[in-house]
C-alpha cells in the first residue's frame, strides 16, 4: 500500500497536534499534582507535622514511690520492697508452652496465673512482656537467672510493692493497699492518670486510704517513641516522679506488738494514749490479720476464713466498735452530778440492791446491796443504785453534755477507717431517733453506761486521759509528715472544777488500790507508778424478772455471744498521769476479771517501755506473771528494724 507523501504529512500533522494536546493535558495534570503537594506539604505542613508527632510519641507514666510509714521510733511499718516477677516475651520465647514447661520444673507456677497469662498473650502483641509469676522469692529468681540460656524470652523483673513487716500488728491502723479496682475509679470524679498504670497500688482501708493523697506522690513520665504496632523504639526523655510523703505515727511498734500479743485470741480492743500529748501509743484490735495477704490478692479460702470468723478479725474494734461503756461511764455521771451540785463527795445514798424508778425496779449488780454508799465507795465497789439516784437528780442532758466534754459521743478526727461517733443520748436525740419521749428509766440506764449509751475503746481511752489530766486531750495518730511534726493533741483545761476531778480520780485510785476495790486484784505495786482505774461490765442482753428471781445465769453458762462485755479503763501513775489505757474484751464476762489484768499489764509495759520488773506486780501473782511474760516473749514475733522479712 503506497501512500502519497501529502497524505502522510496530513496525518502526521494531525497526530502531532493531538500529541501536543495530550502532552498539554498531562502537564496540566502534573501541575495539579504539584499544587496538591504544595497544599499538603507547605500550607498544611504544621498540622501534619503535629499529627506525625502524635503518632510516634507516647507518654508513659512512671509510678511514684509511695510514702513509707514508720512508728514513733523509726521502726518501719509500711515499706516499698522490691518484688520480683517473672515475665515472658512470647515473641522471643518461640515455643511458649515449651518454655513454660521448663520454667515450671524450676519453680512452682500457679495454674490460675498461667491461665491468665495465656489469655493476656492472645490479646496483646507478641513483643509485650506477660507476667507469668509475681512475688517470687529471691531463690527462685536466682534459679531462673542461672538457667536463663535455656529459657528464651524469660526475664526476672523487679518492681516495688507494699510490704508490711509488722504484719498483724498494724493491720487495723495502717490498713493495706491493693491494685486500683473499677469500683475505686467509679468513686472518683476525675481519677489521676497514674491510677491507670496496671498493678498500681492505692490505699484501700485504714491510714493508707485516709492519707492516700499524701502517700501517693506525683507520677513522673517518660516520652517514648513507638512504632505503628506500639513497640517502644527508644526513650526520648524522662521526668522522675515525686515520692509520696513519709509518715511517722505516734504508735510505738514494740508496745503495739506487746499489746497485740497480750490480747491473744480474745475478741478484744485496747488503746494506750499519752495523757498529756494525746499520742496514741498503741491501738490494737484482736484478732487481727496479715495485711500482706490483701496486697498480694487474698485467696478465696483465706478471705472466707476472715469473714466467717465470729470474732470479726476484719473489723477494727478500737475505733469502729462501739460498746455500752457500762460502769466505766460512772465517772462521767459522777462528774455531772458534782458539777451540778446535786450531790457532795461525802453524801451517801442507801443501796438496798435496787431502786424503783417510775414503777420499774432497777437492780444493783450486787443483789444484797451496798448499804450506805458515798461517791468514793460507789466507784470503788461500782454501786449502781448510787448512780441511778444522782443521775435522776442531774438529768440526762447534763450527763450527756459532760460525756461529750470528755470525748464520748464525739467523732475524733483520726486518719483511720470508719471512726465511730458512738452515742451519748439526750432527750432531743431520742425524740429524733425513735420518735419517743425520754423516760426517766432511760436516765437510770444511761447513768451506768447502759441503754442507749455507746462508746468506742478509743473514746474511753480519751475519756480516761481527760479525767487524769483535766485537759481536753485529743488523740493524735500522725506524728510527722516528711519529718515535719504535726500539731500535738495537748488541750486546754476542761471547764470542770479541779476538786471534783480529784474526787473522781481518788475513787478510781480506790478501785485499783483499796482492798475492796473491784480492780484491786489487778493493781500495780510500787510508789510513783500506782494506777487508777475503773472496771465495767456491760450487758448485751436484758435480764428478765423471771431470770432474776431464779438467779441470774452466770456468764460462764451463757453462749459466748450473749456474755457480758468486759471493760477496764485506767491510767498511771496516779499522781503524775502518763498513759491512759482502755480495754474492751467482747463477751469477756466481768470487767475486773477479764479486762483489768490486760489493762494493767499493758499500762506497766508502757510505763517501763518494755517488760516491767516482777516487783511491780502483787506478790501473790508474780510466779504466774513470770510464766505469762515468758510465754508472751516466746509468742511475740520478733520484727527487727527495717526488716524485709515479708517474703512472698
Amino acid at each position: 500500500m503506497k501512500r502519497s507523501s501529502k497524505d502522510l504529512d496530513a496525518t502526521h500533522g494531525k497526530m502531532t497536534r493531538r500529541a501536543l494536546f495530550l502532552g498539554g493535558l498531562q502537564l496540566a495534570f502534573a501541575g495539579g499534582l504539584a499544587a496538591r503537594m504544595r497544599f499538603l506539604q507547605v500550607d498544611q505542613a504544621d498540622e501534619f507535622r503535629l499529627l506525625a508527632e502524635e503518632n510516634r510519641i507516647n507518654i508513659r507514666l512512671l509510678p511514684p514511690a509511695r510514702g513509707e510509714i514508720f512508728d514513733r521510733n523509726g521502726q518501719i511499718i509500711a515499706q516499698n520492697s522490691p518484688s520480683y516477677r517473672i515475665t515472658l516475651v512470647p515473641e522471643d520465647a518461640g515455643d511458649v508452652e515449651a518454655v513454660i514447661a521448663k520454667l515450671s520444673n524450676l519453680l512452682p507456677l500457679d495454674p490460675e496465673d498461667l491461665e491468665r497469662a495465656r489469655a493476656e498473650m492472645r490479646r496483646s502483641p507478641p513483643f509485650l512482656p506477660i507476667t507469668l509469676a509475681d512475688r517470687i522469692g529471691w531463690e527462685d529468681i536466682s534459679k531462673v537467672a542461672v538457667n536463663a540460656p535455656a529459657l528464651p524470652g524469660v526475664t526476672p523483673e523487679v518492681g516495688l510493692t507494699r510490704v508490711y513487716p509488722q504484719q498483724e500488728d498494724f493491720a487495723h491502723v495502717v490498713g493495706y493497699v491493693g491494685p486500683v479496682s473499677d469500683y475505686d475509679l467509679s468513686k472518683m470524679d476525675d481519677p489521676e492518670p497514674v491510677l491507670m498504670i496496671p498493678r498500681f497500688q492505692i490505699g484501700k482501708v485504714g491510714f493508707e486510704a485516709k492519707r492516700e493523697d499524701m502517700l501517693r506522690g506525683k507520677a513522673g513520665a517518660k516520652r517514648v517513641e513507638v512504632n505503628a504496632t506500639g513497640r517502644v523504639m527508644r526513650e526520648l526523655d524522662r521526668r522522675e516522679g515525686i515520692s509520696g510523703a513519709d509518715m511517722q505515727l505516734t504508735v510505738d511498734a514494740a508496745l503495739q506488738n506487746y499489746v497485740q500479743a497480750r490480747l491473744g485470741r480474745e475478741s478484744a480492743a485496747a488503746v494506750v494514749i499519752d495523757c498529756e500529748e494525746g499520742d496514741i501509743r498503741a491501738i490494737c484490735s484482736s484478732p487481727s490479720f496479715d495485711p500482706n495477704l490483701f496486697v498480694r490478692g487474698i485467696s478465696v479460702a483465706d478471705y472466707r476464713m476472715l469473714t466467717e470468723d465470729n470474732y470479726r478479725p476484719l473489723s477494727n474494734k478500737t475505733v469502729q466498735g462501739t460498746y455500752p461503756p457500762g460502769s466505766t461511764f460512772k465517772m462521767i455521771t459522777a462528774l455531772a452530778a458534782l458539777e451540778e451540785g446535786v450531790v457532795g463527795p461525802e453524801e451517801t445514798v442507801w443501796c438496798p440492791g435496787h431502786l424503783t424508778v417510775a414503777g420499774r425496779r432497777f437492780h444493783c449488780w450486787k443483789r444484797a446491796g451496798h448499804g450506805h454508799v458515798d461517791l468514793n465507795n460507789s466507784l470503788k465497789r461500782s454501786c449502781d443504785v448510787y448512780y441511778y439516784d444522782i443521775a435522776i437528780k442531774t438529768g440526762i442532758d447534763k450527763i450527756s453534755a459532760m460525756a461529750n466534754k470528755f470525748g464520748l459521743g464525739v467523732k475524733h478526727d483520726l486518719p483511720m477507717s470508719a471512726v465511730a461517733q458512738g452515742i451519748t443520748p439526750t432527750k432531743e436525740w431520742k425524740l429524733r431517733s425513735y420518735g419517743k419521749d425520754w423516760l426517766i428509766g432511760d436516765t437510770a440506764n444511761a447513768s451506768i453506761g447502759q441503754g442507749f449509751m455507746l462508746a468506742s475503746p478509743l473514746q474511753l481511752a480519751v475519756m480516761t486521759a481527760r479525767i487524769a489530766t483535766g485537759r481536753s486531750v485529743t488523740p493524735r495518730l500522725l506524728k510527722s509528715i516528711d519529718g515535719v511534726e504535726q500539731p500535738s493533741g495537748a488541750g486546754e483545761p476542761l471547764d470542770v472544777a479541779e476538786n471534783n476531778l480529784r474526787t473522781v480520780r481518788k475513787g478510781m485510785y480506790s478501785v485499783s488500790n483499796d482492798r475492796r476495790g473491784t480492780g484491786y486484784r489487778s493493781r500495780i505495786i510500787g510508789d510513783g507508778i500506782r494506777m487508777a482505774g475503773k472496771s465495767g461490765t456491760s450487758q448485751v442482753r436484758n435480764i428478765t424478772a423471771a431470770e432474776r428471781a431464779a438467779g441470774v445465769i452466770r456468764n460462764e453458762d451463757l453462749p459466748w455471744e450473749r456474755r457480758d462485755h468486759a471493760l477496764y479503763v485506767c491510767y498511771a501513775p496516779y499522781d503524775n498521769p502518763k498513759y491512759a489505757v482502755a480495754v474492751v474484751v467482747e463477751h469477756g464476762g466481768g470487767g475486773s476479771k477479764a479486762a483489768a489484768p490486760i489493762a494493767r499489764d499493758v499500762l506497766l509495759q508502757a510505763l517501763y517501755d518494755g517488760t516491767p520488773p516482777l516487783e511491780a506486780y502483787p506478790k501473790a501473782d508474780r510466779s504466774r506473771i513470770k510464766a505469762q511474760q515468758e510465754r508472751l516473749e516466746r509468742e511475740r514475733v520478733k520484727r527487727p528494724l527495717g526488716s524485709r522479712s515479708s517474703k512472698a
Partner: protein
C-alpha cells in the same frame, strides 16, 4: 510503511546503533531507578536488604532487556504486535485458571524467579496492537464507525479479563491507554465525548447498584471508594492508609525531615511503604522539593517521549512511543494521586521506584521499544 519503505542504508547498524540511542531518555530512567534504590535503602532502615539488592539486580536485568529490545528493528515489533496481543490474552486467561491469589485477587503467575503480572504485559501489547492497527488502516477510514468499533473491541477484551481478576485499577488504566492511542491516531472528537459521557453514566450506575443484587463492584471496592471520599470516617480501618500517607506527606514540609529521618515510614505507620506508598516516604524525607523534583523528572520522560514521537515520521513508531509514554504517565499520576488522597487506593506502583520486579521489567522492555523506534526512525524524507 512497510520494511521496504525504510531506507535500509540510512539505518544505523551494529554498534553504531548504540550511538543513536535516546541517551537523554535512558539517563532519566536510570535517575528515577536510582531514586528508587535510595528510597528502598531508607525504608529498610539503612540497609541494602531486603529490597535494594534484588531491585538493583532486576534493574540490571531490565536494562539488558531494554538494550536487546532496542537493537531489534522497530518493524519487527510492529510485525509481532498481533502475536504479543494474543499472547498476553492467553496469559490473562492462564492467570485466571492457574494464577496465584494475593490481596483478594488473582493477578500473577509464579515463574519461579519472578512473579509475572499478565496485566502489565497487556498494557504494552495493547498499545502495540493499536499502533499497528492504525499504521495499517488508511487514515481516511480512521473515524468510520466500523473501524472504530474494532479497536474498541480489542481494548475491551483484555479489560474484561482484568476486571474479572478483579483489578479495577488496571482495567481503567488499560482503557485510558487504549483510548489515548485511538485519540492520537485521529479518531473523531465526538467518539470521545460520547464515551466520556457514557462513562459518567456508568459511574453513577455503579453507585446506584450498591446494595442491590446486580451490584457491579465488590464490597471492598465500594469501601475503598468510601474511604477515599472520607478517610476520617474510619481512621484505623480502611481509611488508615490514606490518613497515614497524608500525614507522612504533610509532615515532610518544604524540605523534608532528612534522609532516613522520616518517622512515619521508619516507625511503620505507613502501609506498603516499599511498594505502593514509597512516594510518601520520599515526600516525607525530602519534602515538597523532593516530591516536585521527582515529578519533574517523570514529566521530562514524558516530554522526551512526545518529542521522539513527533520527530519520527513513522506512524507506528509515533503511536507506540506516545502510547507507552501515556502508560508511564498513568502509572505515576495515579500512584501520586492515590497517596495524596486524590484517588482511591487502587494498588498501582510508582513506576521504576516501587519495589517489584514484573512492573519494572515490563516498563524497561517497553522503553526498549521506544528506543528501537528512536534508533530506527526514518532518517531522510521519503519524498
Amino acid at each position: 510503511m512497510s520494511y521496504l519503505e525504510y531506507h535500509a542504508k540510512s539505518m544505523p547498524s551494529g554498534f553504531r546503533k548504540i550511538l543513536y540511542l535516546n541517551w537523554g531518555l535512558l539517563l532519566l530512567l536510570v535517575t528515577v531507578a536510582c531514586v528508587g534504590f535510595l528510597m528502598l535503602y531508607s525504608v529498610a532502615g539503612g540497609s541494602f536488604t531486603p529490597w535494594v539488592e534484588p531491585q538493583v539486580k532486576r534493574f540490571a536485568l531490565g536494562l539488558v532487556l531494554l538494550f536487546v529490545v532496542a537493537m531489534v528493528p522497530i518493524w519487527f515489533w510492529r510485525n509481532v504486535s498481533v502475536l504479543a496481543y494474543l499472547g498476553s490474552l492467553a496469559l490473562l486467561v492462564a492467570v485466571e485458571l492457574f494464577g496465584s491469589v494475593g490481596m483478594g485477587a488473582q493477578r500473577w503467575i509464579d515463574l519461579g524467579f519472578m512473579r509475572l503480572q499478565p496485566s502489565e504485559v497487556t498494557k504494552i501489547s495493547l498499545v502495540m496492537l493499536l499502533a499497528a492497527y492504525y499504521d495499517w488502516l488508511p487514515p481516511e477510514k480512521t473515524s468510520r464507525p466500523l473501524w472504530v468499533m474494532l479497536p474498541v473491541a480489542l481494548i475491551l477484551l483484555p479489560v474484561a479479563l482484568v476486571l474479572k481478576q478483579p483489578d479495577l485499577g488496571t482495567s481503567i488504566l488499560l482503557m485510558a491507554a487504549g483510548g489515548g492511542v485511538m485519540f492520537l491516531a485521529g479518531v473523531h472528537w465526538a467518539y470521545f465525548v460520547a464515551v466520556i459521557a457514557s462513562g459518567v453514566g456508568l459511574v453513577s450506575a455503579v453507585f446506584q447498584s450498591r446494595g442491590t443484587d446486580w451490584q457491579l463492584l465488590k464490597d471492598y471496592q465500594f469501601r475503598r471508594i468510601d474511604t477515599f471520599l472520607d478517610p476520617s470516617q474510619d481512621p484505623l480501618g480502611a481509611g488508615y492508609h490514606i490518613t497515614q500517607s497524608k500525614i507522612a506527606l504533610g509532615s515532610g514540609g518544604w524540605s523534608g525531615r532528612g534522609f532516613m529521618q522520616g518517622t512515619q515510614s521508619r516507625l511503620n505507620f505507613l502501609p506498603e511503604k516499599h511498594t505502593d506508598f514509597i512516594f510518601t516516604t520520599l515526600a516525607e524525607e525530602f519534602g515538597f522539593i523532593g516530591g516536585v523534583t521527582l515529578l519533574f523528572i517523570y514529566m521530562l520522560i514524558i516530554l522526551f517521549c512526545i518529542a521522539s514521537a513527533i520527530a519520527t515520521k513513522d506512524r507506528f513508531s509515533s503511536l507506540v512511543i506516545m502510547g507507552i509514554g501515556l502508560n508511564f504517565f498513568l502509572f505515576f499520576a495515579v500512584n501520586m494521586s492515590m497517596v495524596m488522597g486524590l484517588a482511591p487506593v487502587v494498588g498501582v506502583p510508582l513506576p521504576m521506584v516501587s519495589y517489584g520486579g514484573s512492573a519494572m521489567l515490563v516498563l524497561l522492555g517497553a522503553f526498549g521499544i521506544v528506543q528501537s523506534a528512536h534508533i530506527h526512525r526514518p532518517r531522510h524524507s521519503t519524498r
